[in-house]
């Protein structure tokens, strides 16, 4: 800057003063992945302090779920994490099934795992696409969304919906998958691994990406555990904690897959771990497609599952059960349940308290994003402001899940 000419020259230079600057980021900004507001204190470009403010998307799901029947609540579960929505459906269904003691048939279990893993791939594709977009790489975004589109088409085929599927039910599934689903799925699987390699080739090894991602936002394993970080971000720090392996649920113990781990816990590792997880999800689906066999898709217990439609005209009993289930719902016994599961973002669990009525007494949802976002301050302090965007992207926040 040129000195102003009208300022008289002084014998001694003025004292150079510096002060901290407070910068408000969000809540309406594309790089905050939703309506997250972060107040950052900066010394020049360096982050001194950071406070996330959440709640802009709070919808009171927990309170609403107390006033809907157990089956009606499937409307709300996918709306929390709209990126990996099958994880929420599954976590809620597993908790209620444990409460009522439902037996899920083999076929339903396999289809659930296929859909859950497909959904995980779709979520990781968004993670990679938007994460790289935040770092200035625009090309991968279009390729990743092409594959995600193929997955959403499969979902639409199965459930009629692309996002909010409402397909899983307590004790099984709403209906069977269409005949063409498995051949189409095989077509998708055949070409997918080569595409993951393509994505990796787009950024892995690039010196620009390396300098933006290596040693940025490092979270050591002890700190990550204490902060409650879970999911791919925790595994990037080298902690081998995947709920699918550590506390198997929903039939995951029958499948053979690895848990990819990072070593440094920086932005780079978090990105690579997600890519590797896509390959592992592909491996699980490939095994599941081989296992899928014809059979029932719902628990035959008439107190839980609706009778087949054609029975209603012939059987009085079936009509009564149908009427009772639709108007009132089923009544689980008194008690409390909790089933931890692994969503694309980390440990996801529903704590359900039943008072014996047809509606839950209390539902507490442990969403991984809500806990993971607490690591943001630790990971960002001491870094440049531009790195904060990369760190936020690799913690994979979904604001619907944070605010519930």
């Amino acid at each position: 800057m040129k000195p102003k000419t009208d300022v008289p020259l002084q014998d001694e230079p003025r004292e150079l003063r510096s002060e901290l600057m407070v910068l408000n980021v969000g809540p309406q900004h594309p790089s905050t992945h939703g309506v997250l507001r972060v107040v950052v204190t900066l010394a020049g470009e360096e982050i001194v302090d950071l406070v996330p403010h959440i709640g802009y998307l709070h919808s009171g799901f927990e309170k609403t779920m107390e006033h809907r029947t157990y089956t009606q609540n499937f409307t709300y579960t996918p709306r929390m994490d709209y990126v990996h929505s099958f994880a929420h459906d599954l976590a809620y269904a597993l908790a209620v099934e444990k409460l009522v003691g439902a037996q899920v048939p083999e076929r339903a279990e396999t289809i659930r795992i296929i859909l859950n893993e497909l959904s995980r791939i779709a979520s990781h594709l968004i993670f990679v696409a938007t994460g790289l977009l935040d770092l200035g790489a625009m090309t991968p975004f279009f390729y990743a969304f092409r594959e995600r589109e193929a997955i959403l088409d499969l979902f639409e085929w199965v459930s009629g919906q692309r996002f909010h599927h409402n397909y899983i039910r307590v004790g099984g599934l709403k209906e069977d998958v269409p005949e063409e689903f498995v051949p189409e799925l095989k077509k998708f699987l055949a070409g997918f691994l080569a595409k993951v390699d393509d994505y990796q080739g787009m950024f892995d090894g690039s010196p620009i990406f390396e300098s933006r991602a290596r040693e940025i936002g490092v979270i050591p394993p002890e700190v990550a555990i204490n902060l409650g970080l879970t999911g791919g971000s925790l595994r990037a720090s080298g902690v081998n904690y995947d709920v699918r392996k550590a506390h198997p649920y929903g039939g995951y113990d029958k499948y053979d897959f690895d848990v990819p781990l990072g070593t440094r816990g920086d932005v780079y590792d978090r990105m690579i771990v997600r890519l590797e997880e896509m390959r592992q999800s592909h491996r699980i689906i490939a095994q599941a497609v081989e296992r899928i066999e014809p059979g029932p898709i719902r628990d035959p217990n008439p107190h839980l599952s609706l009778p087949p439609r054609e029975m209603l005209g012939r059987s009085m009993e079936a009509l009564i059960y149908h009427f009772k289930l639709v108007t009132e719902g089923f009544h689980p016994p008194l008690g409390e349940v909790y089933v931890p599961t692994e969503s694309a973002r980390g440990e996801l669990a529903y704590y359900i308290v039943s008072d014996g009525g047809s509606r839950p007494y209390r539902v507490k949802i442990r969403t991984p994003e809500f806990v993971n976002i607490q690591s943001l301050a630790y990971a960002s302090k001491g870094h440049q402001f531009a790195d904060f965007i990369a760190i936020l992207a690799t913690l994979d926040p979904v604001l619907g899940g944070i605010d519930r």
């Binding site: 394993p221 409650g228 081998n240 904690y241 409390e336 909790y338 704590y351 008072d355 607490q374």
Partner: protein, 209 residues
């Protein structure tokens, strides 16, 4: 197994233990909580996975106190010698004195969980570094997850200007003051004005008679 050691610790101090559906709850007295967290960390429970706050005021079975706060402690599998043991440390909190010690000095992940419970259930955590509301708007009064928090209901206005205020409508069904009608456009203003309208209309009726 770490869980057995935690149960032995509980038995030593006479804490009640409940087991159901592969889950374990240990009832920790409120004042012993910091000591219990310290002992749990020494036993290897290094990960606080979840904090659940529950209002039992309309639960069909009697409970010791109105509120319960559950801390899910986990020895994380896959790090050092963690074995995946998990249990819930349960603290009963009375309605008169809804205060309990914070877990943040021991587990950093408790920070947002406790703020959430403070916001939605109205329990205060002593020693929390930043106890503010977290999810609900700053001007919202009350704690929505309490069972006595009223559900949001809006008066319905009909074309002829008549409106139904759901709460008074239900009161009318039970023989109370129905408060069914108001002046045209009354419902477009705030609640206070609506009630003011009703009061004025009733006063006018009284004068006529």
């Amino acid at each position: 197994m770490r869980l057995e050691r935690a149960l032995a610790y509980a038995a030593e101090r006479g804490y009640a233990v409940e087991e159901a559906r592969d889950l374990v709850w240990i009832d920790v007295p409120r004042d012993d909580l910091p000591g219990f967290f310290e002992a749990a960390q020494e036993l290897g429970f290094n990960y606080l996975a979840n904090v659940v706050g529950i209002d039992y005021s309309s639960y069909p079975e009697p409970r010791p106190e109105r509120f319960a706060v559950l801390y899910e402690l986990v020895s994380i599998k896959g790090w050092k010698d963690g074995d995946g043991s998990r249990f819930f440390a349960r603290v009963w909190v009375p309605e008169r004195d809804p205060v309990l010690p914070s877990a943040v000095p021991f587990y950093a992940s408790a920070n947002f969980f406790e703020r959430e419970i403070y916001d939605l259930l109205g329990l205060r955590f002593e020693g929390h570094p930043d106890l503010r509301k977290i999810l609900t708007p700053e001007d919202l009064e009350g704690h929505p997850l309490r069972k006595d928090y009223p559900l949001g209901e809006t008066p319905t206005q009909f074309k002829d200007g008549r409106y139904i205020d759901p709460a008074s409508f239900r009161a009318g069904l039970a023989g109370g003051d129905p408060g069914l009608t108001g002046r045209r456009g009354g419902a477009r203003r705030g609640f206070a004005e609506i009630y003011e309208d009703v009061r004025r209309a009733q006063a006018a009726e009284g004068e006529d008679a």
